[in-house]
């Protein structure tokens, strides 16, 4: 995939949330939710973004779509800096970048029939005649497996899985190029999860979609992603293709995550890497490598010098001083 210009390029993206306290609301500290991360997403691929709760995955997704303003950094989508756009230019780029939300209950307006919800983007962008919009809406509903008569119903009349498919239809109605999927299946039953994942895969094939797929479930990410980025405490610690990452993880944190995936075979013995303690506070992250207090292989250098994201093998980037030694 080298040589091709990426569809989305994120460079040194940073988001600090101020922590205010006292009567005069003085800023006493910053939550370093996302700290100087860089990655790119290529046309037609799915980049999985994994990490535990509070590591900044969702913030990253929202920054990319400019639902949040960054503290620093840039996001280029098709060569345009998303954060430099205003008014009409921002509106027209939004046609091509959509989002699927985690919670299918709060992501649909309870007072809007779902047909209206799916047509909302078309109405905002004034695409075609009302009749054409109506037809696009019915067509999109059919694509996600809903019947035309559902269009007049309200969100509370649907199940969680159906609502998530409505959310997908809403994002899809504008026929975008790029969709941020913010944990789209984590609120669903396991039986519905695979259904929605397969739907996302099918739609990707049909419309040539590019996904930034945010999740905390590694099996889900393995199922859908082409490449995977692992986040820890606001930093990207490892980026690699799915096969590379799942079979030859380089970063200790990735290894620990992978060893935590349950295997449905009680006889199989394997080495478990158990992490001690909790994720440190993003207000005062550890010095040097942010993972060093919990890393079983930590050495003196880890607490002093912050490891940069480097590329020891082609297409496999990792932020660990001793990645090569730990590879075996």
């Amino acid at each position: 995939m080298n040589g091709v210009a990426p569809l989305l390029q994120v460079h040194n993206l940073k988001k600090y949330f101020p922590v205010q306290s006292g009567i005069i609301r003085r800023t006493v500290a910053y939550v370093q939710a996302v700290d100087e991360i860089s990655f790119e997403v290529y046309q037609g691929e799915t980049l999985g973004l994994v990490g535990e709760s509070g590591c900044g995955k969702t913030t990253t997704g929202r920054l990319v779509l400019r639902l949040l303003e960054p503290t620093a950094g840039t996001v280029f989508f098709e060569g345009q800096n998303v954060f430099a756009l205003k008014g009409e230019a921002l509106k027209s780029i939004r046609r091509n970048m959509q989002m699927i939300f985690q919670d299918p209950y709060s992501s649909l307006d309870p007072r809007l029939p779902i047909g209206e919800a799916v047509m909302e983007g078309l109405n905002i962008h004034r695409i075609g005649t009302p009749q054409e919009r109506f037809e696009i809406m019915l067509d999109t509903l059919a694509k996600v497996g809903l019947e035309p008569y559902h269009a007049r119903r309200y969100p509370h009349e649907f199940s969680g899985g159906q609502r998530q498919r409505i959310g997908i239809a809403r994002a899809l109605a504008l026929r975008p190029k790029f969709i941020v999927c913010d944990e789209p299946v984590s609120a669903l039953d396991v039986s519905i999860q695979s259904q929605v994942l397969n739907l996302l895969k099918d739609l990707q094939q049909e419309f040539g979609l590019t996904y930034l797929f945010i999740a905390h479930n590694l099996s889900v990410v393995e199922h859908i992603s082409d490449r995977v980025a692992v986040m820890y405490l606001g930093k990207i610690v490892e980026v690699a293709s799915r096969e590379e990452l799942f079979h030859h993880p380089l970063h200790p944190y990735t290894k620990a995550l992978l060893s935590a995936i349950p295997i449905p075979n009680p006889r199989l013995k394997r080495e478990r890497i158990l992490l001690k303690g909790d994720v440190p506070s993003p207000i005062r992250p550890p010095s040097g490598c942010r993972f060093h207090p919990r890393c079983p292989w930590a050495r003196a250098r880890c607490s002093e010098e912050e490891p940069l994201l480097r590329e020891p093998a082609t297409g496999h980037r990792v932020a660990c001083h001793f990645a090569e030694e730990l590879a075996h």
């Binding site: 027209s92 046609r95 989002m99 992501s107 307006d109 109506f134 309200y154």
Partner: protein
């Protein structure tokens, strides 16, 4: 495709239920709310058809027209009043007018007072609260501190002050009452805008390309106004009561306007000699306020999201 689809859409959509329909159904299951609606129905009927129901002109002084005295007690034929006497079911007031007709016309005025002040207050309060909640920052600070200043005074006292500045009269009293009730609505709208603003469907609309005004008026406000319905209904009751109080003090409706508060105020010294002249206007005010309070309570229960899945 639409040709084969449309008939199906119409047929099956009959089963679709909006949130409003659910609310209505729940509302009509509450007896107290039904009683409130019945009372309000009677009031509205009386207010609309007052000229046809009222036996006399409410302004007409009956001296020389009929053989009646000032402050004559009620005379009801079926209850044994001699049939050769003219019938006045609520008696005669201090200016020799038919009290019953005046009470009927008073319903008109009270409903107008209640609805107009609350409408005015809700519109201004919603705009202020929505702007404060949606934009936040210093805009929020300025608007809400202003509202806090208004809230710091006792409502009726502030209304009296405003009327004193503007001069007595019904319209000025209405303006005063409306201004006094703005902060309550502004606060409610702000609070609910703040919570709805953070919902994912608002973010979804933003990603779809909606501008801030679209988000505020199309997505946030429709979902933020439910608490206002309850407060508005209860607010009508308060407004009627406040207007009656101002009129009682001589600051609102001026004689000879048939307003319950001013009727009460005019005859307040005759409580023991002619109790019917204070009893009926007082009763009318009480029943009207009760009706709105019952409806308001019923609405509060019917709109309560925590009961959303109980007793559909």
């Amino acid at each position: 495709m639409p040709t084969e689809v449309k008939p199906q859409t119409e047929e099956l959509s009959l089963r679709s239920v909006s949130l409003w329909q659910i609310t209505w159904r729940r509302l009509f299951k509450r007896k107290s709310a039904l009683v409130g609606f019945a009372m309000l129905g009677v009031l509205v009927f009386v207010a609309i058809f007052a000229p046809w129901i009222a036996p006399y002109d409410p302004y007409q002084v009956l001296i020389g027209v009929e053989d009646v005295q000032r402050r004559e007690p009620p005379c009801i034929h079926v209850l044994g009043c001699p049939t050769d006497r003219p019938q006045h079911i609520m008696g005669i007031d201090g200016n020799v007018r038919d009290q019953f007709s005046r009470i009927l016309y008073g319903a008109r005025l009270s409903l107008i007072i209640g609805f107009s002040t609350v409408t005015f207050a809700i519109i201004l309060g919603t705009i202020l609260g929505a702007i404060a909640g949606f934009f936040g920052g210093w805009v929020d600070n300025i608007i809400m501190r202003l509202m806090d200043v208004l809230l710091a005074f006792p409502a009726l006292l502030l209304a009296i002050t405003i009327v004193t500045v503007l001069g007595p009269g019904l319209i000025n009293a209405l303006i005063a009452i409306a201004i006094v009730s703005i902060p309550a609505y502004a606060r409610i709208v702000r609070a609910s805008v703040l919570s709805v603003r953070e919902q994912d469907f608002v973010a979804a609309s933003r990603v779809l390309g909606g501008n801030p005004f679209y988000l505020l008026f199309r997505r946030i406000l429709p979902n933020a106004l439910t608490p206002l319905i309850v407060q508005g209904t209860l607010g009508i009751a308060t407004a009627i009561l406040d207007a009656a109080a101002l009129s009682f003090l001589g600051l609102g409706a001026q004689p000879p306007t048939p307003e319950w508060g001013s009727m009460l105020g005019a005859e307040r010294n005759q409580v023991f000699t002619a109790p019917h002249l204070v009893f009926y206007p007082g009763l009318a005010i009480m029943l009207t306020v009760l009706a709105f309070n019952l409806i308001g309570d019923g609405l509060r229960d019917a709109l309560d999201p925590r009961l959303a899945h109980v007793s559909k």
